[in-house]
């Protein structure tokens, strides 16, 4: 089972690299779905089957479908690919890449100095997760309900297409 983890990790890293380097938004989205599915495999191997299912259904399913619909509505064509090519010059990569590599190097240094605590991969059943969710973390569930309500209202308010409002006399003059 160890090899499953490493293969899925390699797929996740490679497809994430592809996501941030693609010029076409749809290609990047498809690679992002591959990356999320690889992370779902890692969750399953780590003994979290419920979370793996949620990752596939909600992340790779619902959220990515939302992205794809928006990309379809924006109707990006070859023009945007050309613009991306223009924006993503080699020089644009140098500074951010160095900075995040420094941060990653520090993180690796801290982690590799650790004591190597083993992960046994004991399966935590969905029942245990549900009991914990609705007893210890009940307040969090209620707060996330409020967050989702705010998200719905915010998305509706922002997504509404505003009609152009003219003053009625000005509109009459415009009509003439």
């Amino acid at each position: 089972m160890d090899i499953t983890f490493y293969i899925a990790a390699a797929v996740a890293i490679l497809s994430t690299i592809m996501v941030i380097t693609r010029l076409n938004a749809v290609h990047a989205l498809l690679y992002l779905i591959v990356s999320l599915l690889a992370v779902a495999v890692i969750f399953y191997v780590l003994g979290a089957p419920f979370i793996a299912a949620l990752e596939v259904i909600i992340y790779a399913g619902a959220i990515m479908v939302l992205f794809i619909f928006v990309v379809m509505m924006l109707n990006l064509g070859d023009k945007s690919v050309q613009q991306e090519k223009q924006w993503l010059s080699a020089g644009a990569w140098v500074g951010p890449a160095i900075l995040s590599l420094i941060l990653l190097g520090e993180f690796l240094y801290v982690m590799l100095a650790g004591s190597g605590q083993p992960v046994e991969g004991v399966v935590v059943s969905p029942q245990k997760v549900g009991v914990s969710l609705f007893s210890t973390y009940l307040l969090g569930v209620e707060l996330s309900a409020m967050l989702l309500l705010a998200g719905i209202i915010g998305a509706y308010h922002l997504g509404r297409r505003k009609k152009p409002v003219y003053h009625r006399f000005l509109q009459e003059e415009g009509g003439k």
Binding site: L32, E55, L112, E120
Partner: protein
Amino acid sequence: MIHISMETGLILAGILFSLGLLGVLVRRNVIFVLMSIEIMLNAAGLAFVVAGARWGQADGQVMFIFILTMAAAEVSVGLALILQIYHHFKTLDSDAASKMKG
């Protein structure tokens, strides 16, 4: 079942997170920035699940569910904002919307 160390899983989460950070810093297209933010949130969730699996407790998975909820709310609002930006400026360049009023 598997015998990896907790640090291996956390290092994977760190690599994914810094790739997402690199995407946020490099890309100018707003859609790609939002996608990179998704990568970062997912990496944070992976770190929670790995740490939860170390002790065989459900808390890490509960935290992942909260992160999932937050990501869904954030994406819906963010995509609505992207549509508004596109209708307003006719471009997805994040520099086009750098002025507060205009």
